[in-house]
Amino acid sequence: MLDFELTVNGQRYPVRAEPRKLLSDVLREDCRLTGTHVGCEHGVCGACTVLVDGKPSRACLIYAVQMQGHEVTTIEAVAKDGKLSPLQQALHEVHGLQCGFCTAGIVMTFEAYLKENPRPSEAEVREVLSGNLCRCTGYHNIVKAIIRVADEGSDATA
């Protein structure tokens, strides 16, 4: 067992865990942030995507102990004071989620992506989204929500 400290969503968490314990498991069990879901544990499905220093990363491919000195952001930090982010709001309005299990990973991926690429084309959105598996929606409405929020964002800044 190792004792170390993690910074998640701006908050410090003292953790006692084996060095082999995955970030996804530590977030869920030790930090009690269960919004990060585990779908495949081999880095394919993207459900466990979190931000590490602002970059989308698969929490199932990282040992928690490696995250000392880094900032981890999870789905729980996206809505501020109970207000959905524009991306979350768009997913809600166009029915971009069904069972909801993959949703956190998709939100985290695109919260980061849209910051760097505020006006992506549909093809670009589909390319980035291909790292997240969704078995319910057929992706149609997820793509629609992302395009919508990108359009709204660019309208607002225009």
Binding site: H37, C40, Q98, C99, E122, E127, G138
Partner: protein, 784 residues
């Protein structure tokens, strides 16, 4: 029954469920903290087929954190075996123990269960369990299964043929003799798995003091599941509670009581401690449940004009090693509804199901998925062999609206469907007329376009009469309750199990119209067997028709009582002319609606807290329960059309356009319906293009990761153009027809038809799925 004006049913309300899912506050099984819970890990067979000679657990037992290790012999003392023996002609009875005792039957079969203080430690110890196996030759495919002197997967059976059903009506032999031509076709569908993004898992909590088992599990059918757990644990149904919170996808995989789950329940009872288990993705791929793998042949006797005179169908299905369902259950429905919207009198089928050394099969979203591909592929074959336009062959054979209700040759009755309307709408939307020119022009440039059409008649909701007639035990009814609480809050429940269908929203809309409140005032309480009424759960596409109608009937009864009380409170003799609208009582005077001051909350307060003020003889409270058994079968329909481009050099396929015209009756919530249509089409296309659970020739599973088992990502799928053409059903009071599986049927069929259209210059036919680039390229190469 008086039907109120629908104000909320059909409204595009964003879902109530979304907020918690979007913010990371859903409650999936693994999100439920159970203090003191132990963790289970299963030791699995590395062999497809082998005798278990011994299991040595001593070394593993002393490993760090290990609490107990159980094997099949232990489980046999604490649980009863599963006996699958419904009285169906041609179906062999089978039985399985909770864990295998004498032999393993597939690569991944669980042989022992390690219970430890953490999942990590349980996995460590599982590697130390030594099982001595004597490998046996394995049955790796259907061909091997049906050989004379084949190795037997199940020694209690006379052969691997676990089920055979034959049926004949009219004289298909005579029709073949009279026919201008007999057109033969083949269809081979690969083995697949459901792949919910949330794998299987549960937390079993045994309460020694109360002698009660609580099972937290993502499940589609909480009450039938409870019956199974109770029976096999030798408990009564009052000693078991199933809590199924948010579920990360089911698609048919979360119906059966699996052996691992029962083992975990038994372990909790033995250890008097909570035990939980979550399988990893490799276990989910190899050992949860598989689906499909059918080989189908049709022989169609046709006139020179392409009219169908007689049809023979043969289905052969690979069911895997264990029967968690009656083996005929899936393939038989295909044979029952094969003809869909097409007219036919003379029909014969033979459905054979065989056991092999693979993971057992179960129903996957559209268990009858292959149906539409088979009949539409047969239509295309007729057109191809007679040199006719495939659309004209479909038009010629399709039932006319005036001929409805129409009785299929199997006795199934289709009514209130619109196959001609949806077909013509899809044909128009995809520009069928202009396509041939575009296709010809493209071919000149060496580009290969293809267009497919596929009509779907989807059997959505099975009533009890259907089950009885098919000899399947079980019921098709659904149950609901509705309670208006003393403060006016409306709680309601049905016995379904949500896995993303938006029941909390859509059924709130149904209650809103049935009772006369706003959808926001209604809260659906589901997924707990102590709270919800005993219903048959979510399977097929029955939720809307069976569940929606049950809750509507409860809401109407509630409305009647509320208005009777309101009349008394307002000093009227009767409730005639009174309405409840958005929670307020309105009065009709000379055709005009006038609001009164009376609200539902005031009526509720009277009903609970001032019963002497109620109409004479009326019981206090506002508590209503209803059950609803739908007609034997409810059908909805759709027509799919898609355009593809095939790269003849690489075999790569691109879907250029995808159109579906759909009639699913009264729509409860268009967001949900369209979302279900997208999801179903996606699952169909993913299966038709990519998904393939592969075993090698020795029976070893070679698809143990998501790098091997491919599913569609966002770059593999097109956008979907959905054309709503809904007309209400007359079979139930709300007019619902149901949907959510037909998209799979249509997608599988339409993509195959489109690919074959693109392949037509090469003179080859793709009769096998998945339509992988490898396969398509090999077809083209064989033609050159």
């Amino acid at each position: 029954m008086r039907r109120p004006k629908l104000r909320h049913i059909g409204a595009a309300l964003p879902r109530k469920e979304d907020l918690r899912f979007l913010t990371g506050h859903g409650r999936y099984v693994e999100d439920i903290e159970v203090p003191g819970a132990l963790h289970a890990c299963f030791v699995r067979s590395p062999h497809p087929h082998a005798k278990i000679l011994s299991i040595e657990t001593e070394t593993a037992k002393i490993a760090s954190g290990v609490i107990a290790i159980y094997t099949g012999k232990d489980l046999a003392r604490w649980t009863t075996p599963l006996r699958m023996a419904p009285p169906i002609e041609g179906l062999r009875p089978v039985e399985m123990t909770t864990l295998p005792i004498d032999k393993v039957r597939f690569h991944g079969d669980p042989v022992a269960c390690v219970i430890a203080t953490s999942r990590y430690l349980a996995e460590d110890a599982a590697e130390r369990v030594e099982v001595d196996y004597e490998p046996l030759p394995a049955v790796a495919n259907l061909e091997q299964a049906l050989l004379e002197n084949a190795v037997k997967v199940d020694e209690s059976l006379p052969s691997n043929l676990v089920s055979i059903q034959k049926y004949k009506t009219g004289d298909p032999e005579a029709r073949k003799r009279e026919a201008f031509k007999v057109v033969e076709s083949e269809f081979h569908q690969g083995r697949m798995t459901h792949l919910p993004i949330e794998t299987r898992g549960l937390a079993a909590v045994w309460d020694e003091g109360r002698q009660h088992l609580t099972v937290h599990i993502g499940n589609q059918v909480p009450h039938p599941y409870r019956s199974q757990v109770a029976a096999r644990m030798r408990l009564s149904e009052s000693q078991v509670t199933i809590v199924s919170p948010d579920v990360g996808g089911g698609f048919g995989q979360k119906i059966a009581l699996y052996r691992e789950e029962l083992t975990v329940c038994a372990a909790s009872r033995q250890l008097k401690r909570p035990v939980r288990w979550r399988e990893d993705r490799m276990e989910n791929l190899m050992a949860a449940s598989h689906a499909r793998e059918d080989s189908v042949r049709t022989r169609a006797a046709v006139t020179k004009e392409g009219r169908l005179l007689g049809l023979e169908l043969e289905i052969l299905e690979d069911f895997g090693a264990y029967c968690f369902y009656p083996a005929n259950y899936l393939a038989r429905v295909v044979a029952m509804i094969l003809t869909g919207p097409y007219k036919l009198r003379d029909y014969a089928f033979e459905v054979k199901v065989a056991l092999t050394n693979k993971c057992g099969n179960g129903p996957m979203r559209a268990p009858m998925a292959i149906t539409s591909w088979v009949i539409e592929g047969t239509m295309d074959a007729i057109a191809r062999e007679l040199g006719l336009d495939p659309l004209e062959v479909r038009r010629l054979n399709m039932v006319e609206t005036r001929e409805l209700p129409y009785t299929m040759p199997t006795g199934e009755v289709i009514a209130d469907i619109t196959p001609r309307e949806t077909l013509e709408a899809a044909v128009k939307a995809i520009d069928y007329a202009g396509f041939r020119k575009r296709q010809a022009a493209a071919r000149k440039e060496g580009r290969h376009l293809g267009l497919g059409l596929c009509s779907v008649v989807e059997s959505t909701t099975y009533g009890s009469k259907f089950y009885k007639a098919a000899g399947i035990p079980g019921s098709g009814h659904e149950a609901a309750w509705l309670r208006i609480e003393p403060g006016g809050a409306v709680n309601a429940s049905v016995g379904l199990g949500a896995t993303g269908q938006g029941y909390e929203t859509a059924f709130a809309q149904v209650v809103a119209d049935g009772l006369g409140v706003e959808p926001s005032q209604v809260r659906m309480q589901m997924g707990n067997t102590d709270v919800a009424p005993y219903g048959m759960g979510s399977r097929g596409a029955r939720g809307g028709t069976a569940g929606g109608t049950a809750i509507f009937l409860a809401a109407r009864e509630a409305n009647e009582k509320v208005l009777a009380i309101a009349a008394q409170m307002l000093g009227f003799d009767s409730a005639e002319g009174l309405h409840l609208v958005d929670g307020r009582v309105e009065r009709e005077i000379l055709g005009e609606r006038v609001k009164t001051d009376l609200t539902l909350a005031q009526v509720a307060r009277t009903a609970y807290l001032d019963p002497t003020a109620l109409p004479k003889g009326m019981a206090p409270g506002l508590d209503f329960s209803k059950t609803y058994d739908p007609p034997p079968m409810t059908y909805s329909n759709a027509a799919h059309a898609c355009e593809v481009e095939l790269d003849a050099e690489t075999g790569a396929l691109k879907i250029l356009r995808y159109v579906v015209a759909e009639d699913c009756g009264t729509v409860l919530n268009p967001f949900v319906v369209e979302g279900q249509q997208h999801g179903a089409i996606a699952m169909g296309l993913s299966g038709a293009l990519l998904e393939h659970m592969r075993y090698d020739e020795h029976g070893n599973n070679i698809t143990g990761s998501l790098a091997d088992y491919l599913v569609a990502t966002s770059t593999d799928l097109p956008g979907f153009e959905v054309i709503p053409m809904h007309t209400p059903s007359r079979g139930n009071p709300v007019g619902i027809k149901g949907m959510a599986e037909g998209g799979v049927m249509g997608a599988i069929g339409v993509i195959a038809c489109a690919v074959n259209d693109a392949l037509s210059p090469f003179g080859v036919i793709a009769d096998r799925q998945p339509l992988s680039p490898d396969y398509l390229r090999s077809l083209i190469r064989s033609a050159r």
